[in-house]
């Protein structure tokens, strides 16, 4: 890897950060105190400080600007990520929450700078020249380099493999990886790469990053709420872009249930607003997925989605006119994509008419939606019959019989989706994801609907309990 890239970029960015440094010392004292306790293995105390005092400090000093990056805090607490290139591991311990924020903020800065660079419309000539001459600043490549380096240094992949398949953890972790600081930075870098690859439109690689991480409550990412939410947002989004709507729905509903249940616990956290915003975006994405792949949801989630996006959902299922709604929701809820190259400074014409990366992604996604825009209408007719002639249905729909045949082929293809069954997130098999199926015998449509059978389990359980209570009551009397 080309390590030089990152160091240079730090220098170039310092302008922005210099504005913040004057207020550093105040915070430094605070951190210094806790720095000592960190070495004394009291990272629980530190966690409290991070969650609470930190918020107060943020309100005081960094109300309108983000906190500086890890690399700038590092020297103030005697050590930090910069010393990754030094001779040995540093003996510092930081709360997971904080380590996550370091990675999260790093990517956020990258993303913001790329978006800033991409919008050349209202920039002065001076600014454009400055950007052109410093094209290496925040290049995608150097950002990837940092995240991959953290993964390599911490040997987190090896550690995850050992925890899955067994083996010698100390040997797998190595000198650096056996320290929580490095281990967790490496782990969060994996989640960070999931995000960065999504921002760059590489959805398969994004999910591939998760090869050694299982999506369950015991996973490390679940220890930090913000990380937990981020993970599911990007996993769900990547699935959606890969046309795996059923898998996307599963991911979104899982985390939305979690957010709804834990709402009261994190109201005081500084991440509260952010988590709520992400949650709201995920309801929008969920509505898109449900429109494309009608699925039964958890009752609370369903009610909540209807409340928020009920109107949009029914619009999206009403044919052509719904396309605009798809686009609106997509643009509202998609991540802030990054153009991998940035603007072409050579061609001055293209500077002013550069396409925003999110329009690029929206355009491709919406073309896909357009293919299936008539499916809900068609489904609603098919549901009413068990057999029906092509001509008759075509007459109902006021389209040519040939066009109806074409539409039916689309309905069939879209009623199958690649769905996760076991293994890594990228694995999956095509299965029927619709409750409505049909086949064609020449000019006749034969329709079959699958129904959910009665649920006996609950009924029996309740009655068994009742019976046991009665027996217990009788025995008491006797």
């Amino acid at each position: 890897m080309y390590n030089e890239g990152f160091a240079e970029e730090e220098v170039d960015l310092s302008d922005e950060v210099d504005l913040l440094t004057p207020s550093f010392p105040v915070v430094e004292e605070d951190l210094d105190d806790d720095g000592k306790s960190a070495s004394n293995d009291a990272s629980a105390t530190l966690h409290g400080v991070y969650e609470n005092s930190f918020n107060r400090l943020t309100e005081k000093f960094y109300m309108k600007t983000p906190w500086p990056e890890a690399d700038f805090i590092a020297p103030l607490v005697n050590d930090g990520t910069n010393s990754f290139d030094s001779d040995g591991p540093v003996g510092l311990e930081l709360p997971n929450q904080w380590l996550w924020d370091i990675i999260d903020e790093f990517i956020y800065q990258f993303q913001s700078f790329c978006n800033y660079r991409n919008r050349l419309k209202n920039k002065t000539e001076e600014e454009i020249v400055l950007l052109r001459d410093n094209i290496q600043v925040w290049s995608c490549y150097s950002v990837l380099n940092v995240l991959y380096s953290l993964i390599t240094k911490s040997r987190i992949t090896e550690q995850l493999l050992v925890s899955k398949h067994g083996g010698d953890m100390i040997e797998a972790a190595g000198e650096y990886g056996s320290r929580p600081l490095y281990k967790m930075l490496g782990y969060f870098s994996i989640i960070g790469l999931l995000r960065v690859h999504c921002l760059l439109g590489d959805y398969t690689l994004a999910l591939k990053m998760m090869d050694n991480i299982e999506l369950n409550k015991k996973a490390l990412f679940a220890r930090v709420t913000a990380c937990h939410v981020t993970t599911y947002y990007y996993v769900g989004f990547a699935y959606m872009m890969m046309r795996r709507y059923a898998d996307a729905i599963k991911a979104f509903s899982h985390i939305l249930v979690f957010i709804a249940r834990t709402k009261m616990y994190h109201t005081r956290s500084y991440q509260f607003d952010q988590i709520n915003k992400k949650g709201d975006q995920m309801y929008a994405l969920l509505a898109i997925c449900i429109a494309l792949c009608p699925t039964r949801l958890d009752e609370n989630i369903h009610a909540h989605m209807r409340e928020k996006y009920g109107e949009q959902l029914s619009k999206m299922q009403r044919g052509e006119e719904g396309l605009q709604t798809f686009e609106d929701l997509f643009l509202y809820a998609c991540p802030k994509f990054i153009s991998p190259i940035g603007p072409n400074f050579e061609d001055l014409n293209s500077l002013t008419q550069a396409i925003e990366p999110h329009h690029h992604h929206a355009k491709i996604f919406l073309a896909e939606v357009r293919h299936q825009i008539l499916i809900p209408t068609l489904r609603s007719y098919l549901k009413l019959y068990t057999t029906m002639g092509i001509d008759k249905l075509a007459a109902f729909l006021e389209i040519e019989p040939d066009k109806l045949r074409t539409q039916l082929l689309i309905v069939k293809q879209k009623s199958r989706q690649q769905k996760w069954i076991s293994g890594t997130l990228l694995e999956g098999e095509y299965v029927a994801t619709s409750d409505l199926d049909f086949c064609l015998k020449q000019d006749m449509i034969h329709i079959a609907e699958s129904k959910v059978g009665r649920r006996y389990g609950d009924w029996f359980l309740r009655n068994i309990n009742k019976f046991q209570d009665i027996i217990a009551g009788m025995e008491l009397r006797a």
Binding site: Y2, L409, Y430, I447
Partner: protein, 247 residues
């Protein structure tokens, strides 16, 4: 009766993938511009055969698009708009057409720079993709044969037309239990009188009987009403069983 869908996702690890490619795309070496020639060579063998490797091809696209970014990060940025080899991009897109209805074509587009989508050849390939995704098979062949440039564009991929026919035939076998031979032949752009038509459909177990082609039932064209039954797991019952032991 087969209990699996006729549709298969593009394999994550195709059997034909050489070890060197595997190690290359697994690690950070996938970003090393020196490796692009190895990957392109591998694309060359995919074009000669039916082999297809989505993950490797995505890695090529990423490398091509990233070249500028990589060079920038090591301060060797050159203002050379033709760094990106257009033919390689086209060939990757052509290959992914043969993987429809898998989302591969779009997964490639998402990776490209937004300006690349406006290039003439890419626009043409997108046009073909749209027709295939919209199942407008007759129109697909019409457009494909309307202009020599489409054939030229896909000429590097040996057996492209037959690969597309397979895509179409899969879609038909998923939907129909029987279909008029005339209609099917128009979808496949083959003549019912030709031996090629019969041998092609027979390769998938379809039989032409007096102008009606019969499709054996499969997971996708069966359309049997099913009742989804609840699945009670043992864990749900542990409480009840545990309690009854106490009695």
């Amino acid at each position: 009766m087969n209990s699996e869908s006729l549709l298969k996702p593009s394999p994550l690890i195709p059997a034909s993938r050489p070890e060197i490619i595997q190690s290359l795309i697994d690690g950070v070496d996938r970003y090393n511009p020196d490796n692009v020639s190895i990957l392109e060579e591998y694309l060359g063998t995919q074009l000669q055969t039916e082999d297809y490797d989505l993950m490797a091809n995505l890695a090529i696209l990423k490398l091509l698009v990233f070249k500028r970014s990589i060079l920038a990060s090591i301060n060797q940025y050159q203002f050379n708009p033709h760094l990106v080899n257009e033919q390689v991009i086209n060939n990757i897109l052509v290959k992914s057409l043969t993987a429809i209805p898998n989302p591969d074509f779009n997964l490639c587009l998402y990776l490209l720079h937004e300006n690349a989508l406006a290039e003439e050849n890419v626009t043409k390939l997108i046009e073909l993709q749209q027709l295939l995704e919209e199942c407008k098979y007759q129109e697909f062949w019409k457009v494909y044969e309307s202009d020599e440039s489409y054939k030229e564009l896909t000429s590097d991929a040996i057996g492209f037309e037959d690969a597309i026919r397979k895509v179409i035939l899969t879609s038909i076998t998923m939907t129909y239990q029987s279909i008029s031979a005339e209609l099917l032949s128009s979808y496949l752009n083959l003549n019912t009188d030709d031996e090629e038509f019969d041998s092609f459909i027979q390769s998938r177990g379809l039989v032409n009987k007096d102008g009606i082609v019969l499709v054996p039932t499969n997971y996708d064209n069966e359309a049997k009403p099913t009742v989804i039954r609840e699945n009670i797991k043992f864990e749900q019952l542990t409480k009840v069983i545990g309690y009854s032991n106490e009695l």
